[in-house]
Amino acid sequence: MTVAELEVLGSGGPEAPPAVDESGKKITGRSPTRIAFDRLRKDKVAVICSTAVLILVILGILAPLISNALGLKYADPPSTPAVEYLRFTYPKPEYGPPFGPFTWDHPLGLAPGTAHDNLARLLYGIRTSFAVALLATVLSTVIGVSIGLVAGFARGALDKLISFVIDVFLSFPFLLGALAIAPIITSRFATQPEILAKAQFFSLIGVLVIFGWMGLARLIRGQVLSLREREFVQAAQVIGVPTRRILFKELLPNLVAPIVVTISLSLPGFVAAEAGLAFLGVGLTGIPSLGQSILRGTQYYDQYPLYLWAPVVTVAILVMALNLLGDSVRDAFDPSTRQ
């Protein structure tokens, strides 16, 4: 992209970069993305939050390695009979809380009833949550941006049609859709357990995407509507640049800010939605997830609070860190905020 074009966007902001910095070295100009990153780096909240998210991401990615290294039995189910570890549903005192002392063998204790290691399940749950949230975000962003671009740039009937479709999707209740799809998937793949787990995973992402792209599409459409009338777009049209090129080379770079902001705010939304759906029993059931861990934990809260608190705190940290980070990203990209 050219500097000229970027200056179109950047020039309105009061924080336009100084022409000369303290050392006297001349700076030609910085992209808004660059500016935002610089501002993010100075934002303590952003730094803390991104560190937290990064740690959780690493924990999630390395879940199998960590579990193996610590000798935790994610073991689904454990290789020795689960009842060897249990006494009346709860883990025996020698295997940690609630009735025994802390033990390094099982830092977060064992799950009642199944004797799964809670830490291992938590790590795998984080992994699942991230995978779902990330995939759903990427897909809904791609869909939302494409549709928004087309709707904003096309005039007349196509724009009206797309806007109508967006309205239709917006008016359809998300929870109802999720609740209705789960049993259909279950019965469709009833006899293929391996496929069922995958089908649940992708149908969950599908549901999240289907009900998650409209906001961004609308936002992008609005932006494109105003950008379309700008001189650089008109100039491009006049000299005969193909529409595809105008959309992706001229318009899209100017939409980086709203897109990044939306992504950073929808990630925590999807994490929370995944947990919520799992809690309702319509999300993932075959593989560990944070929502499922919470659902199980609620039954044992009185006797075994740790069993519930571990996944709850993890989800809370994850969602809060992503949210605050999203806020910071939005502030960093917003030319009208001053720091």
Partner: protein, 591 residues
């Protein structure tokens, strides 16, 4: 008869919706990891009868105080409360113990921890003819409905006729249809209007019931609410009668909100002098249903205020069992449910007996109890006989060599599979994806099957669909998980429904989840039913062994048990082993 648990709770035991349930089981049990201690061998429930206890009032209970209102809380709502249709453990318990009187009744005997069958409306336990095809009952005088109207033998006859009507009362027990003269064609007083049904003859206060095949257990069937008086006419319109059945017992309906609550108050017309079994110590009952399990546990555990006067219809849940046992073990009521939970390999699809035996070795009994949220030794007790402890004639045996009850032996299973040349045999069984306990149980079972050399294919279903799928003979599964509870302590309430060939097109599976069909067994069942009553118990037990030794069509995963909770003011609450419900006839409150 049917268990009262909602499908959610039921599915936690890997989809056990019990088809029918009721009359037996062991005596009071003890908690702890010693499963075999929980049942009293040979001290079976309801085996005892005492026809001489036919004079009211029931003996006073020492120290019993009058007054107060007993609260009842339970997860499960009530299904139909129409006496002709009540066939769930909770509806039968409420009606039979408190509201409606029948020909006979059960009373609890504290000494033996057992219930005894004694006369109720009838003056004795009935007089059969030589081959049990005709029974004579005399209805006692002086019994009145809650509105003062006298109960006559005609009312009882009408009540019995109503019990034939499967269209109006689809959920009711079908014993009248099965045994009475023309029971298979007679459709009750509403469908066959004006038809003079010839199976019941009323002569003054004497009822003569005629059977088309020997029915030695008529006195037990007589204890069901269905075999009691119901007023003829508009009052007993099947559409409305379940809202307020006319009380003949010590308590009557006051307010009833289906699925939510039921309030019972004293029935002023009940005369203790006519009732040899019931008391009226408390002023009434307030029953609250649809209460969440954790809430029930908390209310009962805290035992404050009204909770002191409360009993639960549900067992303490596994998460709270340990604390309850530590803090308030005296307020736990241990006992048995007369049920056997089994795995039923499909007899049409799993043809090799060695494969079926391998399944029994491979099944992860104790892990499955734990994963399903049951409490080993308390609500789930390993066993091998199909007839649960308490059934007369039952003798402990194990059809599998070197197999301990409730033990898993993957190596032995693999050996059998190899012998049968069936390594990698695919086992397809149902589970509900929307129930964590069911998912956990499924994983435990799958892993155990794989370890034993099977190929485990769990078939996903949902809580809502699973029981329908299981009852479908053509469903794509080859093992069904389920159970059966006896209606009265006799092998006669076990083998005919569970192992007799069923007409799949006409009746579906019924309770024969294994789709078991062997002419030799059918023949033997028919023979035993014709045997002298004294020889039957031993014959049933022998059949239990023969079936398992020769065909091994099913294997027992556990027997059922109960650990109900009571408030500290509630006295004389025991487990009625015929229902796994609290005994309410003798209950009184400390004031």
């Amino acid at each position: 008869m049917r268990l009262n648990k909602p499908i959610v709770a039921v599915s936690t035991v890997a989809l056990l919706a019990l088809a029918a349930c009721g009359g037996s089981g062991g005596g009071g049990g003890t908690p702890g990891g010693q499963p075999t201690d929980t049942f009293k061998e040979g001290g079976g429930s309801g085996q005892g009868t005492d026809p001489t206890r036919n004079e009211g009032p029931a003996p006073e209970i020492e120290g019993a105080q009058e007054g107060g209102t007993v609260k009842v809380i339970s997860v499960a709502g009530l299904n139909s409360m129409d006496p002709s249709e009540a066939y769930y453990t909770n509806t039968i318990a409420i009606l039979q113990q408190l509201v409606t009187r029948s020909l006979t009744q059960f009373v609890y005997d504290e000494e033996s921890g057992d219930v005894i069958l004694i006369p109720d409306l009838a003056t004795d336990l009935g007089t059969p003819n030589e081959d049990f095809t005709e029974w004579e009952f005399t209805i006692r005088p002086g019994v009145r409905y809650e509105n003062g109207q006298e109960v006559t033998a005609d009312d009882v006859a009408f009540g019995i006729k109503r019990s034939f009507d499967r269209a109006s009362f689809p959920e009711g027990a079908a014993y009248s249809n099965d045994y009475f003269v023309d029971g298979d064609t007679y459709e009750g007083p509403y469908k066959n209007k004006g038809d003079d049904y010839k199976g019941i003859v009323v002569d003054g206060d004497t009822l003569t019931l005629k059977m088309r095949k020997p029915f030695p257990d008529m006195a037990y069937w007589g204890s069901f609410p269905a075999i009691g008086p119901i007023p003829e006419g508009d009052a007993s319109d099947p559409a409305k009668y379940s809202q307020h059945p006319w009380a003949t017992g010590p308590y009557m309906f006051d307010e009833y909100t289906p699925e939510k609550s039921l309030t019972l108050v004293k029935n002023p017309e009940w005369d203790a002098a006519t009732d040899p079994g019931r008391h009226q110590y408390v002023d009434g009952y307030e029953m609250q249903f649809d209460v969440a399990t954790p809430k029930i546990d908390q209310i009962m555990l805290q035992d404050e205020g009204e909770a002191k006067n409360t009993v639960s219809f549900d067992s303490v849940s596994a998460p709270n069992y340990l604390q309850f046992k530590q803090d308030a073990s005296d307020r736990l009521l241990f006992g048995s449910e007369p049920c056997t939970f089994m795995w039923y390999p499909d007899y049409r699809q799993i043809k090799d007996i060695n494969v079926r035996k391998a399944l029994a070795y491979a099944y992860p009994y104790k892990d499955a109890y734990a994963a399903s949220g049951a409490i080993e030794g308390v609500t789930r007790i390993p066993g091998t006989n199909i007839m649960p402890p308490g059934i007369p004639g039952r003798e402990e045996f194990n059809p599998l060599p070197d197999h301990e009850k409730g033990a898993t032996d993957a190596a032995k299973a693999k050996e059998l599979l190899t012998e049968a040349d069936a390594l990698g045999f695919e086992i397809k069984f149902l589970y509900a994806t929307d129930d964590t306990a069911s998912v956990d149980t499924q994983k435990v079972i799958s892993a155990a099957l794989e370890e034993a050399g099977f190929k485990a294919t769990p078939v996903a279903s949902t809580i809502a669909d699973s029981s329908t799928t299981r009852a479908d003979p053509s469903a794509d599964i080859n093992v069904r998980s389920g159970g059966w509870c006896s209606d009265w302590p006799s092998g006669g309430s076990w083998f005919p429904p569970v192992f007799e060939t069923t007409d799949l097109d006409k009746e579906g599976l019924g309770a024969n989840y294994a789709v078991f069909s062997e002419p030799a067994v059918d023949k033997r069942i028919a023979e035993i039913q014709e045997l002298d009553l004294k020889e039957q118990p031993a014959a049933w037990n022998e059949l239990d062994q023969t079936i398992q030794a020769d065909y091994f069509p099913v294997f027992v995963t556990s027997y059922g048990g109960a650990a109900l909770m009571r408030g500290s003011n509630v006295n004389n609450a025991f487990i009625d082993p015929t229902f796994g419900m609290p005994t309410m006839k003798d209950m009184w409150l400390t004031q």
